[in-house]
């Protein structure tokens, strides 16, 4: 395994576009080449080493053996792990928006929180978040008919609004609460919410959403019966009937 450690040199005031911080991009490069990678801070072009201290094993190597350790505040650093297919990124701190965009394999593990659009249009792999995540986890970007299609996202804290919007496959687990409209317009995939959620599954065509806490259910959902999941009794609904949907929604407790 080749370890590469990356640390911000300072606090960023404007977002940094760092799609290069991914095992696929960095693995074939030596440390010197990595330092020379182009990165944009707002409208200013820099070298990666201008913004980040980079150290670790000199390369090059295979992407599947790459282990990127990110320490510090990455909350304004966007697109980390974009389109990665293998390898591992571990983050000790918060991560910015669009982490794991279109990711196809490998793992991102975040000991901290994640920004909006985490794992957007993800195809495979695993993302773990020990803190909270922002809005649009596993969603499709503006106008897309499919968000996440495969892989798994696990969030130990809360998720923001529009969790799994246009979800077409894969699995998202949130141990805490989800915000408004989780699974909106989803066409497949699995969403499990440990806490509460508001109006899950609006426009759902197919897929499964399970809410172990309280949820407000849309009037366009049809009650089926009570089922037993993991030793708990949940109410099963089908919908969203507004869209002729055949999605399954399980809710532990109904919010009036």
């Amino acid at each position: 395994m080749r370890e590469i450690r990356i640390k911000p040199r300072r606090r960023f005031l404007v977002p940094v576009e760092a799609e290069g911080i991914s095992p696929d991009v960095l693995a074939p490069l030596t440390l010197e080449d990595i330092e020379r990678l182009e990165v944009w801070e707002g409208n200013r072009r820099s070298r990666l080493s201008d913004l980040f201290a980079i150290e670790g094993d000199d390369g090059p190597g295979e992407a599947e053996d790459a282990y990127l350790l990110l320490r510090g505040d990455f909350s304004r650093v966007k697109r980390i792990g974009e389109k990665m297919t293998c390898g591992m990124i571990e983050v000790d701190g918060d991560l910015g928006m669009h982490a794991g965009n279109g990711m196809a394999g490998g793992e991102i593990s975040i000991r901290g929180g994640a920004g909006d659009w985490l794992g957007r249009e993800m195809r495979g792999g695993l993302i773990n978040v020990s803190g909270d995540a922002g809005d649009y986890v596993g969603a499709g970007y503006r106008g897309e008919s499919c968000g996440m299609r495969g892989g798994e996202i696990r969030i130990e804290g809360d998720a923001g609004d529009y969790l799994g919007e246009h979800l077409c496959g894969g699995k998202i687990t949130v141990l805490g609460d989800a915000g408004d409209f989780p699974g909106i317009a989803n066409r497949g995939g699995v969403i499990i919410i440990g806490g509460d959620a508001h109006l899950p599954g609006a426009e759902m065509a197919s897929g499964t959403i399970t809410v172990f806490g309280r949820a407000r259910v849309l009037p366009s959902y049809q009650y089926q019966d009570t089922v037993d999941i993991d030793g708990r009794s949940l109410k099963k609904f089908l919908g969203d009937l507004v869209d002729g949907g055949k999605g399954e929604l399980y809710v532990a407790s109904l919010e009036a």
Binding site: G140, Y141, R142, G143, E144, S145, A205
Partner: protein, 561 residues
């Protein structure tokens, strides 16, 4: 400028693969050029600049497509350069990308295919922003209340006067008719089912509308014929409606040396079957009819697999598309004139219907014997984006490529069409006709589509030697070379070199100014005052496209006085 030693295909002037020089001076082809600029085109294919006679590139519905499809926008995103402005989009590119991408293909002229008069300002605002190419816009008349009333009253003189006024009001180039009567019926949630189905509240039939507008078009002697999108377009079994429409106008004669009717994106109008289950190609029937009737022309409307954005004034059709595909849908009512819709979709190789549609477009072009009767189009972006023209050309030139493609498609493409048995492979003469000389003749643009003296200095040069290359076998080379012109010359200026844009001049906008007798014009004016007072949401005085919207016009005169 002298283009030296290229292998020239200029079918209108009978030049078929001759090695010759082309001289351009002051933007026109001349016998001898005085300046010393030289372009070495030895061993390269030289043709007149490409001309797209039917594409949706500007105006309200194109912009609706962009607004509906941010996901399409990011697919074609390219940053600005010192010379170029930022680009976006694949099926609905932004204005700049449209001009650049046409130029890279060697195209120098493109016509927007459908503009309602009410929204013509928007069309011209966008045309003004499309760089490099010359352009024009066809104006929609097929569902306009004034047209329907003139047809109902049998007042051909007034109809012609209104057409002339509408062209002027929209700064339009020709008469576009989309699902005549159906757009008006859609205002009440209905459609017309055939050419003899009366339009609600007007009592006129599509047959009468088409005949009336064609006779008005010929009375005015317009450079282009009526440009028709047939009734029942996109529906299984519609080839009968298409043939019935053509038979209904066989007696009308053209007033100029051109076709009397152009049926557009014929692929969508050549369907057999009673439903989607027994859907099949009727392209041989359509092409057979065209082979016996030289007065009609068509364009292919070839389907391209992948993402497309359908946009048309045929609003009921788009409603059907949206329901069938559960797709995004925009529907629009254009007051007294038209309705329209936009629906994005994806054409799949393994989808039986799409695979058959793909075959139909090619069948139409290959089975119609006279290439002057067919234009190569994809009905951009309805069948697919225009950047795929080199793919279509490669398919027309190579049976081997067609067989390779057929093998990757749903098998119904082979069993429900005649494409597998078609041996014809187009040569460079045919290609120069279906992409250049033909569209110029069909649109009535004598200075376009050829390289004779006095023609516009629009030339495309491709890095392939037609004497050495066999397009049938080496179709990949053909596609690659046509995708990135070695040179594109627009009005005597090199705009593309080695596939890259090197200059961004502004093209001109064609429109037709047709004169009519004053008494007929007065009748139209009185009607318009009444309609604008009672129905329109805008004032008549705010309605016309003013000259300020068309800063570089090329006005073509026509008319009866």
């Amino acid at each position: 400028m002298i283009i030296e030693g290229g292998i020239v295909y200029d079918p209108r002037n009978g030049v078929l693969g001759e090695e010759m020089d082309i001289s351009i001076e002051d933007g026109r082809v001349v016998e001898e050029s005085r300046d010393g600029d030289k372009i070495d085109a030895r061993g390269m294919l030289v043709m007149p600049g490409g001309l797209d006679a039917h594409a949706h590139i500007a105006g309200a519905k194109v912009n609706t497509g962009r607004i509906m499809r941010p996901e399409d926008g990011r697919r074609g995103a390219e940053a600005r350069t010192k010379l170029l402005r930022p680009q976006s989009g694949y099926t609905v590119p932004n204005c700049y990308a449209i001009g650049y991408r046409y130029a890279r293909l060697g195209y120098t002229t493109a016509f927007e295919a459908a503009t309602p008069i009410l929204e013509a300002r928007h069309t011209h605002e966008e045309l003004e922003e499309i760089p490099i190419v010359d352009k024009g816009a066809l104006t929609l008349f097929g569902n306009n209340w004034e047209v329907l009333e003139c047809v109902r009253d049998g007042d051909l003189g007034k109809l012609a006067a209104f057409v002339a006024w509408g062209l002027r009001a929209s700064r339009g180039y020709g008469v576009k008719v989309v699902n005549p009567g159906g757009g008006e019926a859609w205002g009440f949630g209905g459609n017309v089912k055939g050419i003899d189905d009366p339009v609600p509240n007007f009592g006129v039939t599509p047959r009468e509308i088409i005949r009336g507008l064609m006779r008005a078009n010929e009375a005015l002697g317009l450079p282009h014929s009526v440009h028709l999108h047939t009734n029942n377009l996109g529906k299984p079994g519609n080839y009968e409606t298409t043939l019935e429409t053509l038979r209904a106008v066989e007696d009308i004669a053209a007033s100029r040396d051109r076709q009397v009717l152009h049926v557009t994106h014929m692929q969508f109008s050549a369907y057999g079957g009673t439903g989607w289950k027994d859907f099949e190609s009727k392209a041989p029937e359509i092409a057979g009819y065209f082979n016996r009737h030289q007065q009609f022309t068509m364009d292919m409307g070839q389907l391209i697999f992948g993402s497309a954005t359908t946009m048309t004034a045929d609003a009921p059709l788009e409603y059907g598309n949206a329901r069938l595909l559960k797709a995004k849908w925009s529907n629009h009512d254009i007051e007294l004139e038209e309705s329209s819709g936009v629906v994005p979709l994806v054409y799949g190789r393994k989808m039986p219907i799409n695979a058959i549609q793909w075959a139909i477009g090619l069948e139409l072009a290959l089975l119609t014997e006279d290439p002057w009767q067919v234009i190569m189009t994809t009905d951009h972006p309805n069948g697919g984006p225009f950047v795929n023209y080199p793919e279509v050309i490669a398919l027309l030139m190579s049976r081997a490529k067609r067989e390779e493609e057929l093998a990757s498609l749903h098998e119904l493409a082979s069993s429900r069409s005649s494409l597998p048995s078609i041996e014809r492979e187009m040569g460079w003469e045919d290609i120069a006709i279906v992409t250049r000389a033909g569209p110029a003749r069909i649109l009535g643009l004598p200075e376009k589509g050829h390289l004779g003296f006095g023609a516009d200095g629009d030339v495309s040069i491709y890095d392939i030697d037609p004497k050495k290359l066999d397009p049938s076998k080496d179709h990949e080379r053909v596609k690659a070379a046509l995708s990135r012109a070695k040179y594109t010359i627009k009005g005597g200026e090199v705009v593309v070199r080695d596939g890259e844009i090197v200059a961004v001049p502004q093209g001109r906008t064609y429109w037709v100014d047709a004169s009519v007798p004053e008494d007929e014009a007065a009748k139209v004016r009185a009607d318009l005052v009444d309609k604008f007072t009672r129905y329109y949401s805008v004032q008549l005085s705010n309605y016309m496209v003013q000259d300020a919207y068309v800063t570089r016009p090329r006005v073509v005169r026509a008319g009866v006085v």
